[in-house]
Amino acid sequence: MSSNPQIEMNHTDMGTKSKHTISVLVDHNLNALSRILGMFNGRGFDIDTISFGEGQQPGLARITITTHGDSQIVEQIIKQLHNVIDVIKVRDLSFEPFVERELALIKVSAHPSRRSEIMQIVNVFRAKIIDMSPDKLTIEVTGNNDKITAALGMLRQFGLVEVARTGTVALRREFTGDT
């Protein structure tokens, strides 16, 4: 039985996990958001980040979810999202060019003697210092998820006091250059 090629193929396929960024257009109400969160939780799917905010049309909201899983799981996630009655449109952006950003506010301990070192790192990541106290700095970093993780990694040595991250937001890229 295990020699069946179709099943074996699917087994190998199931082994590859990848990251997915899913954009969901929904009716703007908390019941819709709760249903989506409950669906992920109840069916054992993962959410890496989620953001919820008003979309371009009044009464609609855009939810951006980043998740990971093999193709079968991600296919189920997309289908189950469609089953939520208030969901209007679901798009797995990972299959097309897209732009994504996340914003993080990072508060680090910064003894005056180490400030310039921190500022060098801030420059490299094109981040901004947006608040300062005698012994702490608050830094704003914008970028994709990896960049923020990298910035956090560099800043960790100074002592992270508090971190707030927005989660990824993303939109499809309109023009890819090849016409």
Partner: protein, 590 residues
């Protein structure tokens, strides 16, 4: 608080501004929320409601008082109400409607809603709620029922404006009954049913986020037809979707024309007549030998409105390993969820099957039928008999005979359910009603009550166990009060039989907490205490008499205490973790 109350009043139609608006639209009416609810339900063709009153729904119950259009059945527990509405829906194809009060009224419906959800049964459940200004205050009989039921409803609403009430109800019925059906809940704050608002009579429902696919993709249907036409060993695997989609005629004529064997799931029983030669009966954990072997050996599998449940597939890597699979389902998320499928067809079975029929040529299945017929004759279902006591299998066959296969059979959950599925001959749709997905003990009797209300012309047999019947036994009062002639046949073995069977087979006969006998009531006296008829049988002769008597009583419920062999096991059985073809056909000593 006062402020909010004023706000509510302003939102309602009690002020001059909105009255002017209403004047401009003379076809509209101003009614209070309760009147809107009753009027909309009547307009939607609802004639039966199962419910239980309470503080938050008093204004609605006032409008139901002496209402000739709506038959309200006062159940004895809200769980019974949801199960009854569910049984009513399965027996009639119409949505079941439930009305309960806030707090405990709502929470008691939860098991019934979950049962309906997993079997895709259309229900609309109205729950009372504390007044809008009290929501969130931990008020008396307040529960966040929308939150509690969110994972087990297809959709839910909290009505915040009485002017939305009519449309919300219409949309709820639309969502409950279309696409893949399911339960929808509407939470009605008390102030919403008391204040005044518009009733428009506008029947149009338009929700842009909800557009179920109905027609299958043509090229997919062509691919499926091609696979089936060239199959050597084809098999149709039909599920509850055929019944929900009212496609039993399409399925039967298609399968007969192309002469392809049909196996049904537990939920699909009755969608293909078991009297036809193409029928292989039920497959799965307690399915027939030949259905499970056909599933394992087939080369092309057509799944119709079925969802490859784990009770059907057994161990997935041993499930139908050599077949190319086609799957018709209205719910895309059911396709390739458990088993990879080569040709998915998303659509309504009632539309897709005739198209498939059009393009499929009759495959050459002579050799396949030789194999199938040999399996059928060599491995029939076992139905042992005893002279001095009743074998449970005998009980089911006796019911099948006395009703000539024409009854609506409603079961509870456990051994009797599997025997009823195997051994009763189902030749008509909507004849077998059972909690398949959730496996809700206590479902059978109230569901039978609902089925009987929806089906006054057919005998309704509730086959239950002594355990499950006691979970919702109180609905006897509802049946007596409303002269509902449900025939309840208790397969009484004094055990939680299916659990005992698993303990016998997998836990060294350590019968932990399954013996009910010493606590069981005298079911005959109990029935009589309610004003129902109670009968008892302990031998095959007595059983025949009792069943005959029960068939003649049509004005009251009849409780038949049928005492059966205590430790009979239900076979064939695919043990958990085994593949379908690794089923156990009987006790090793047999």
């Amino acid at each position: 608080m006062n402020n909010q109350a004023t706000q509510v009043k302003k939102d309602s139609l009690d002020d001059k501004h909105t009255e002017a608006l209403v004047d401009a639209k003379p076809q509209e009416q101003i009614l209070n929320g309760s009147e809107i609810l009753v009027k909309t339900l009547t307009d939607l063709g609802v004639d039966t409601i199962f419910g239980y009153p309470g503080g938050a729904v008093l204004p609605i119950y006032d409008k139901l008082y002496n209402n000739p259009d709506l038959n309200h059945i006062l159940v004895r527990h809200e769980q019974g109400g949801t199960h009854a509405a569910d049984g009513y829906a399965r027996a009639t194809g119409k949505p079941g409607v439930v009305l309960v009060t806030s707090g405990p009224g709502g929470t008691n419906t939860v098991t019934g809603i979950a049962t309906a959800a997993i079997d895709s049964i259309p229900l609309v459940v109205f729950t009372g709620q504390v007044a809008t200004n009290l929501i969130g205050n931990d008020a008396f009989q307040e529960a966040d029922i929308v939150g509690i039921t969110r994972p087990i409803t297809k959709h839910s609403y909290l009505v915040k404006d009485v002017n939305d009430l009519e449309y919300t109800i219409r949309e709820a019925f639309h969502i409950a009954t279309t696409g893949k059906p399911g339960p929808v809940l509407i939470d009605l704050p008390k102030d919403m049913v008391m204040s005044k608002g518009h009733y428009t009579g506008n029947k149009t429902v338009n929700k842009r986020s909800y557009r179920p696919v109905t027609h299958g993709h043509h090229s997919q249907i062509m691919k499926a037809a091609d696979l089936l036409s060239n199959a050597k060993k084809p098999l149709i695997y039909a599920g509850g979707g055929v019944l929900l989609g009212k496609a039993w005629e399409e399925l039967t004529s298609f399968a007969e024309r192309v002469n392809v064997p049909v196996t049904t799931t537990l939920m699909g029983l009755g969608c293909f007549p078991e009297s036809k030669s193409q029928s292989l009966g039920m497959l799965g954990m307690h399915g027939t030998y030949y259905a499970n072997m056909a599933m394992t050996e087939c080369d092309v599998l057509l799944a119709v409105g079925a969802r490859f449940d784990d009770r059907v597939t057994g161990r997935v890597d041993g499930f139908s390993p050599n077949s190319r699979k086609i799957h018709i389902d209205i719910d895309p998320s059911c396709i390739a969820k458990n088993i990879p499928v080569e040709v998915p067809i998303v659509g309504d079975v009632k539309n897709v099957l005739p198209q498939l029929d059009n393009y499929t040529e009759k495959p050459d299945t002579k050799e396949w039928w030789d194999t199938l017929n040999k399996w059928k004759s060599d491995h029939p279902l076992q139905s042992p008999r005893a002279k001095d006591h009743i074998k449970p299998q005998h009980m089911i066959e006796a019911i099948s005979e006395v009703t000539k296969g024409e009854a609506v059979v409603v079961t509870d959950v456990g051994q009797h359910q599997m025997w009823a599925a195997q051994l009763y001959k189902y030749n008509h749709p909507r004849s077998f009603i059972s909690s398949g997905g959730l496996g809700t003990m206590g479902y059978g009797f109230p569901a039978a009550m609902g089925a009987a209300i929806g089906n006054p012309d057919r005998p309704v047999f509730c086959i239950s166990g002594d355990g499950g019947f006691q979970m919702t036994i109180f609905e006897l009062a509802t049946c007596v009060q409303n002269n509902i002639p449900v025939k309840i046949a208790i397969m009484n073995n004094g055990y939680l039989g299916m659990v005992r069977q698993w303990q016998e087979l997998f836990f060294d006969k350590r019968y932990s907490s399954v013996d009910l006998r010493d606590g069981n009531p005298d079911f005959v006296k109990l029935a009589e205490g309610y004003g129902a008829v109670g009968l008892r049988a302990t031998t095959p002769e007595e059983m025949d008499e009792v069943l005959q008597k029960a068939m003649e009583i049509n004005d009251r419920p009849v409780v038949m205490d049928i005492v059966v062999d205590r430790e009979e096991n239900c076979y064939p059985m695919v043990p958990a973790g085994a593949a379908l073809n690794e089923m156990v056909e009987g006790n090793s000593e047999q």
